[in-house]
């Protein structure tokens, strides 16, 4: 018998940080598969390179900060950050883009603030935004058709000239819409294809929606943030579509395009940097949804999930302080009912 007094509870605990993160990674599979099917092997290469960069950076940071390696290297958070940045990158982006994204996310987004649990901003989105601002050209290397392995490898690891690259890349649907609208085309003229047509981003979003619902069912995430974010985006899209359908895409297009579902279920739900009270989560998610629409419609970037999440991250302390749930025995309590 040990001489120390150990703290209750004395039952074994099932969940662990690593377990939660592994569950989230599992839930990414359907959407990722759809992306690979749509865009080619480049998606997986991006994820692999980015995860590797994140793991190496995580280890280096832990060593520099004199923290134990083993518990933190096994918590799967660096892998998840890497996977999320990798999924955000265009499939023909050069390999060093993924490396810089991963390193930035882990260093700037996580360890500069004190590592796991202390980062006020979503590390994956910090990494992605660093790339978005620093390398805007490389982040447009999307395709509409699945790029074959040889082209992908050539594009990612050098050997593909600018003209050859031009021949295989194309604007993403959101980018195409944005360019078209700026040339005074109507939505119908600007839109490349239906979101559910072959090669449509609708399938990708459907995949992430599926994974997200599974996470809610498994209680890996709560419903508030995804539902509120999709509601914010959907309501904004609906209102403006009803006002002028020629200049504004319909709600389904917005909900099924770009990073809507990935953002709602996998990015905005990062617990560390997100709101933590139930009502706070609703406001947090709704705010992201509204911001995503504003940026898509009037901002300088085709999609707005990254900026929307980072901006709402800043409001989290305020939301959590002022939107606390009612505590037992406070407020209306204490009136005899008989």
């Amino acid at each position: 018998m040990s001489g120390v007094t150990l703290s209750s509870p004395h039952l074994p605990v099932q969940p662990s940080v690593g377990g939660v993160m592994r569950g989230v990674l599992l839930a990414l599979i359907p959407g990722t598969a759809a992306m690979v099917w749509l865009l080619g092997i480049g998606v997986l290469i991006n994820i692999a390179v980015c995860v590797a960069a994140c793991l190496v950076t995580e280890a280096a940071c832990l060593r520099l900060r004199d923290r134990p390696l083993s518990p933190f290297m096994r918590d799967w958070t660096a892998i998840l950050t890497g996977a999320l940045i990798g999924l955000a990158l265009p499939p023909l982006a050069p390999w060093w883009i993924a490396v810089i994204g991963g390193v930035s996310g882990i260093v700037l987004g996580k360890h500069l603030y004190g590592g796991l649990g202390f980062n006020p901003f979503n590390p994956a989105m910090v990494g992605y935004v660093v790339l978005l601002i620093s390398f805007p050209t490389e982040l447009t290397l999307w395709t509409v058709e699945r790029a074959d392995v040889a082209t992908t490898l050539a594009a990612q690891f050098g050997g593909l000239g600018a003209s050859a690259l031009d021949a295989v890349t194309a604007a993403s649907p959101l980018d195409g819409l944005r360019t078209g609208l700026s040339q005074n085309l109507t939505v119908d003229e600007a839109r490349i294809a239906s979101v559910f047509a072959s090669g449509g981003w609708g399938w990708v979003n459907l995949g992430f929606l599926l994974g997200g619902l599974w996470m809610i069912w498994r209680k890996l995430i709560t419903w508030q943030i995804p539902v509120a974010m999709l509601a914010g985006l959907g309501i904004m899209a609906l209102v403006f579509w009803l006002i002028d359908g020629d200049r504004h895409a319909d709600p389904l297009f917005h909900l099924m395009s770009g990073a809507a579902m990935l953002g709602a279920f996998f990015i905005a739900t990062d617990p560390v940097s997100g709101a933590t009270t139930p009502r706070g989560k609703l406001v947090f998610g709704f705010g992201i949804g509204v911001l995503v629409y504003l940026i898509r419609q009037w901002g300088g970037y085709p999609d707005g999930v990254a900026f929307g999440v980072l901006l709402m991250n800043m409001t989290v302390p305020l939301l959590d302080t002022h939107l606390q749930p009612r505590v037992y025995g406070q407020g209306k309590a204490g009136r005899p009912d008989r």
Binding site: S8, L11, T276, V327, G334, R338
Partner: protein
């Protein structure tokens, strides 16, 4: 909250719900109560209840009988301790006791003589004939405390004071895994519980009793319903509540049964309810009617580390190792012994500590059954804790601020509404011992408040002393100044007129309302003298002399005026620290 739900039972009573909570594996035994052999040595800690420790009334070498008081209550929130068998007091000393701190405490050690001879007790035929205060005194003298685990002196809860009580809630929920002693008591002593309910209702003026029992205790439910029927106790009813931890928390059970919430930092009394454990009701009844002090209780000795999990009727003071031996011994060496349940109990420092009034369970857990001793990961704010918190708190925020030492902020997040049930720590993926952090924050805040009260008292004392010293000093100075003025007035030399005028001025500066018409009459000198005396008195009473008064000197005699002014200024300076700008 307040979401009604009905579950299958005879009367289909309306039930409410409490937020959060956990469905835990029950691991409850349904075993009859067994007696165990008398222990050779018994240890009675003086602090077995909430409140002041009892004061020993026996000495080493004294022979005592079962039921004899060996330590008496010390103060209002305190209860006596009784010998649980006959024997000889062999020591009164520090012994390791069952306490979360793992520290030792003063105990009376008794060597049993094996005869188990009882001290004579007095019995009561009709408790309704007793004065209520007498009833409470009997319960107090019998050393009865809450047997659910908190060990709060029961007689205090029999005294509602000015509160109007309508309902007695008897807590038979027993929601923590493994603990099974209340079910055993309900199954085997239902009649005494129902009679105890009548007695407590009488004491607090309640109209009805609700016995709340979780639906996983069919034997207790059936036995109590039968006893209620036999006694035709229409004012007592059993209400079956869903099994969900912490259903047996006082606040949660009351919320489930009545939909009412105890106000934050309040008592059930505030909403017209008194709540006792079922076994306490039985103990209260036996104490009053049979004159039986609290010398034994039922304890569940169980867990995967115990060979024969049992419900034992245990003499208080019996060492835990005797209990373990009576339950077949340990299944594995190095098992962790926990007093209480797995959610709120605490690990024992060793097996020699005695069973006390609050001991409801001894749990032996093998190494494989407990969480590994590993460092906690950082909080990732996943909010799993907030989902299960029955008080509706935000454990992740409490933890964040408690860890940072920001105790004022923990209070903004309602730290003191935490009931320490442990649900949050149980679901935490980072394996943070959250409750430990909250206990720490609470004790820090209490310590801070104590320090503050002490500092406030010291500051008040200091300020009072300063004020007193200042007053004495001022009195002395004023007396001196007045005396000086008087002396100078006496020294009336070559210029009686001018001197008299000056004296008059000096007097005037202290009593400006007095008439100071200067004349060359010697009477004026006498008058001035009298006025100087008056001024002295006025100064002694705290009047501050003012140079401005001197400025009222008649303009037609500039020499006298100047003299008077100078004197007034001097007096003012002496009796007041303030620099006099007018002088």
């Amino acid at each position: 909250m307040g979401r009604p739900q009905t579950i299958g039972s005879q009367a289909k009573p309306q039930l409410w719900d409490f937020p959060g909570g956990l469905h835990l594996p029950e691991h409850k035994i349904d075993a009859p109560i067994r007696s165990m052999p008398l222990p050779k040595t018994l240890v009675f800690p003086l602090a077995q209840h909430i409140g002041a420790p009892a004061k020993p009334v026996v000495e080493v070498g004294d022979k005592v009988l079962r039921g004899q008081v060996i330590a008496e209550a010390d103060g209002y929130v305190s209860t006596p301790v009784h010998a649980s068998t006959s024997g000889k007091v062999i020591a009164i000393e520090e012994r390791p006791v069952a306490h979360p701190s793992g520290l030792s405490a003063r105990c009376i050690v008794l060597a049993s003589d094996g005869r188990d001879k009882a001290a004579p007790g007095r019995t009561v035929e009709d408790f309704k004939a007793l004065e209520l205060v007498e009833l409470r005194n009997i319960v107090r003298d019998a050393g009865v405390v809450g047997l659910g685990g908190a060990a709060f002196p029961s007689f205090i809860k029999l005294n509602p004071g000015s509160a109007r009580i309508d309902t007695l809630v008897l807590n038979g929920a027993e929601c923590e895994p493994y603990i099974a002693c209340d079910q055993a008591v309900m199954a085997e002593e239902p009649a005494d519980i129902v009679r105890g309910a009548q007695l407590i209702m009488h004491a607090v003026g309640a109209r009805q009793t609700i016995i709340g029992i979780e639906d996983n205790k069919p034997r207790g439910i059936a036995a109590l319903r039968k006893a209620i029927g036999e006694q035709q106790a229409s004012n007592v009813r059993v209400v079956v509540v869903p099994s969900r931890y912490p259903q047996g928390g006082e606040k949660q059970l009351i919320q489930t049964l009545t939909g009412r919430e105890i106000p934050s930092e309040g008592l059930p009394l505030d909403i017209g309810i008194v709540c006792h454990n079922v076994a306490t009701a039985s103990a209260v009844w036996r104490a009053v009617v049979y004159g039986e002090p609290l010398t034994e209780r039922v304890i569940t000795v169980t867990g995967p580390g115990i060979k024969t999990p049992s419900n034992l009727r245990v003499r208080l003071g019996t060492p835990v190792e005797d209990l373990v031996a009576a339950a077949g011994g340990l299944a594995e060496q190095g098992a962790r012994l926990v007093m209480g349940g797995p959610m709120m109990g605490f690990a024992l420092p060793n097996a020699r500590v005695p069973a006390v009034k609050a001991t409801n369970c001894i749990l032996a857990l093998r190494q494989a059954d407990v969480r590994p001793e590993e460092p906690a990961m950082p909080c990732i704010r996943c909010g799993a804790c907030a989902e299960v918190c029955p008080a509706g708190l935000l454990p992740q925020q409490l933890y964040w601020h408690a860890r940072a030492g920001e105790f004022d902020k923990t209070q903004n997040y309602n730290l003191f509404d935490c009931i320490e049930c442990g649900c949050c720590a149980q679901v935490c993926p980072s394996h943070i011992p959250l409750v430990q952090h909250y206990r720490f924050a609470k004790t820090e805040i209490w310590a801070e408040e104590r320090e503050k009260r002490k500092a406030d008292a010291a500051r008040e004392r200091h300020e009072f002393r300063n004020a007193r010293l200042e007053r004495i000093d001022a009195e002395k100075k004023a007396a001196r100044a007045a005396k000086k003025a008087a002396l100078q007035a006496k020294k009336a030399g070559g210029d009686p007129v001018g001197d008299a005028i000056a004296k008059a001025k000096a007097a005037k500066q202290a009593a400006p309302e007095s008439d100071s018409k200067a004349t060359d009459d010697p009477i004026a000198a006498a008058k001035a003298k009298a006025q100087a005396r008056k001024a002295q008195k006025a100064q002694a009473e705290g009047a501050v002399p003012s140079a401005a008064a001197a400025q009222e000197a008649p303009k037609d005699d500039p020499v006298a005026a100047a003299l008077a002014k100078a004197k007034a200024a001097k007096a003012a300076k002496q009796s007041d620290d303030k620099p006099d700008s007018d002088a």
